[in-house]
């Protein structure tokens, strides 16, 4: 090894000299670890945000419609009457007007209590959600939360950040498919839920502020979270913990109860 290092040093090529120099090698090793980590922690959210904010509306709409109509959601047509769906559509439109989000497309589907925000200002409410929130205005809190996702363009950000994360992993481990798969799995397990929960919290804060702007109590949000938790209790509860995509419902309810206006 000493001979080879000495031989490299004697050559004129500056890259060969760099390879032979221990300080350069140490600096490169540190940079190789630090730069991707810093990239993932700091640059990735900024890049994802930039891409999401600058994506043409037409592309967003097209993507939203594709997801809505693809088999990915696995949702059946709604069983609700037109009268009820009109009533809830009006609630969404009213809140969207307060939020100044422009026209929002509302769709209804059968299924467990849930709501979705898709790119291109599309909101999906399920029959289960309508039944769970049947009494009072608690459903406004859920709608406001979905409008928060639309306002912050969370789904687009997730798509962009996941793609960029994959690129970073690919760049680091391009020499082995097995290493690539494993790193992607670990990155997916450790980072994706973290990003997702951060998005949910951001949408929660937006929802509370929107409720206040609409002259409604932030406690509606706490009520909605507890109703959702109750609805899933008999099904083993909603996922929580480090690998869950959403924060646990009780902490979200408490956040609304303790919310202080900025």
């Amino acid at each position: 090894m000493k001979n080879q290092t000495a031989q490299l040093r004697s050559e004129k090529n500056h890259i060969d000299r760099a390879i032979a120099s221990l300080p350069v090698v140490v600096v490169c090793a540190v940079a190789l670890v630090l730069i991707p980590v810093l990239l993932v922690i700091f640059a990735l959210p900024v890049l994802a945000n930039f891409a999401a904010q600058n994506l043409p509306v037409r592309m967003e709409k097209s993507l939203g419609n594709y997801i809505l109509n693809s088999g990915e959601l696995l949702l059946d047509p709604t069983q609700l009457s037109a009268q009820i769906t009109d009533q809830y559509r009006a609630r969404v439109e009213k809140l969207a007007a307060v939020a100044q989000l422009g026209a929002v497309e509302v769709h209804f589907r059968a299924g467990l209590p849930n709501a979705l925000a898709l790119p291109g200002n599309i909101v999906v409410l399920t029959d289960g959600l309508v039944k769970t929130m049947a009494d009072g205005d608690a459903i406004d809190a859920v709608i406001a939360h979905e409008l928060g996702h639309l306002h912050h363009r969370h789904l687009i950000k997730t798509i962009v950040s996941t793609s960029l994360l994959t690129e970073v992993v690919l760049h680091l481990n391009s020499e082995s498919a097995a290493t690539n798969r494993t790193s992607n799995m670990v990155a997916g397990l450790a980072l994706s839920p973290h990003y997702s929960r951060a998005n949910e919290r951001e949408a929660d804060r937006y929802a509370i502020e929107l409720l206040i702007k609409n002259q409604q109590s932030p406690l509606l949000f706490a009520k909605a979270m507890r109703l959702m938790a109750e609805a899933y209790k008999s099904r083993g509860g909603l996922p929580s913990g480090y690998t869950a995509s959403h924060p646990d419902m009780e902490s979200r309810a408490q956040m609304a109860e303790n919310y202080k206006l900025p």
Binding site: A31, S62, A178
Partner: protein
């Protein structure tokens, strides 16, 4: 030399009874006792045994690798082809057969052109998908339609850049022989991306079953293995070294049948049971994080371990049925160990954020070198360079290679 080892054979005992001199001259790990039972050579190993060794040191490769990776990162990938060339030259020059090194002849500028073309293609694919996701199935169909042509060119590139004793390797695969398996696979993959809520939400069990059969079961059981078997066959059977053509004594059908017969080992069965047990335990515990971790372990075992297992068995199978002129091969690479090593390397790479890759690369090369034996009937003069060696990097070859599809056996 290559008799099936006795069931009473123990490598540890063998090591214990060996004199230090014998151990040096005949390392136990390279003896046929490690032959996996499914990998006995079909050919009689006559001829002179040739020494195959990999002499690189981890420290040397680490220095080279870390500087190359850093430069690639600093130049946003533009230095990548030069880095790849340096790394490939280093590794090839440390592989020695009969005390002679191998050589690779990459042209970095040509590699860069290929990479830029691929980057442009992938970027347009991504933008088109965002602009109109309904174009995805058509783009996938186009990609699979081009796959045979790309793969044939990738083979040509890879073989033509390699030399031994200053004689070039070559490959000339006709894309038409790869069309059938890839078109079927492409059709199924494209269909899987077609949004068909009508099929999913239809109350017709027949439609749902037909969908699952064509989009999930047939590709996994037939289309993908058939395509892999065809690639394995043509990759070797159409290759040559100088004036000598490689001869692979296995049709794609035989390779496909081998893949099915050897898809599992005792370890995959043990892992499957262990995985099942962990799933049940995690469910009983009710902890969602534990369930997610168990799922990740399952993914690791089912994809990385199982895929490597299948690949290493295929590699042994091919090596034992391959010859070029009077040169024959024998492998004592244990597929289970090879898969365990690959999983270990991958986990280590994740834990060290990639810094262990140079070590694992050198370790794996040494591991393979100690377990592959070559025999030569006759002498080296039977291998003559062809009069007009082909260019390693034509535009088509670069493009094929730049896709760098994982086609290795």
């Amino acid at each position: 030399m290559s008799k099936r080892p006795s069931i009473f054979y123990s490598a540890r005992l063998e090591r214990f009874f060996q004199s230090p001199e014998d151990a040096k001259a005949y390392p136990v790990d390279a003896l046929p006792a490690d032959l996996p039972f499914d990998a006995l050579p079909d050919q009689v190993d006559t001829g002179r045994p040739l020494a195959l060794e990999f002499s690189a040191k981890t420290g040397d490769y680490f220095r080279l690798w870390v500087v190359c990776q850093c430069l690639t990162m600093a130049t946003f990938g533009l230095y990548g082809p030069w880095a790849r060339t340096r790394k490939a030259n280093f590794l090839a020059s440390h592989w020695r057969l009969d005390k002679q090194p191998f050589e690779v002849h990459f042209i970095p500028a040509a590699l860069l052109r290929g990479r830029l073309l691929v980057f442009a293609f992938l970027l347009s694919f991504a933008l088109l998908s965002l602009w109109n996701p309904w174009t995805q199935p058509f783009m996938l169909l186009a990609a699979f339609a081009a796959a045979p042509w790309l793969l044939a060119n990738s083979f040509a590139f890879r073989w033509r850049t390699l030399r031994f004793k200053n004689i070039q390797f070559d490959s000339e695969v006709k894309p038409s022989v790869l069309r059938f398996p890839f078109y079927l696979l492409g059709l199924a993959t494209a269909l899987a991306t077609v949004p068909l809520p009508a099929v999913f939400s239809a109350k017709s069990p027949f439609l749902n079953l037909a969908w699952v059969i064509f989009v999930v079961l047939l590709p996994a059981a037939i289309f993908w293995p058939r395509a892999t078997a065809a690639l394995t066959h043509y990759r070797f059977s159409q290759a040559s070294w100088g004036n000598q053509q490689f001869n692979l004594n296995a049709t794609p059908k035989i390779i496909y049948s081998h893949m099915w017969r050897n898809a599992f080992s005792r370890w995959t069965v043990i892992f499957s049971f262990a995985y099942g047990g962990l799933v049940v335990l995690a469910q009983l515990w009710g902890n969602r994080d534990a369930q997610a971790v168990v799922q990740a372990i399952g993914y690791l075992l089912l994809t990385v371990f199982a895929v490597t297992l299948s690949r290493s068995r295929r590699l042994n199978f091919v090596l034992h049925r391959l010859n070029v002129g009077g040169l024959r091969f024998e492998s004592t690479m244990n597929p289970d160990r090879m898969s365990a090593l690959t999983v270990g390397y991958a986990l280590l790479a994740v834990c060290t954020l990639g810094l262990s890759i140079p070590w694992s690369t050198v370790h794996f090369c040494k591991w393979r070198a100690a377990r592959v034996a070559l025999y030569l009937d006759g002498d080296w003069t039977q291998f003559q360079a062809v009069e007009q060696p082909r260019a390693a990097a034509g535009a088509l070859n670069e493009l094929g290679n730049a896709f760098d599809i994982e086609i290795g056996i």
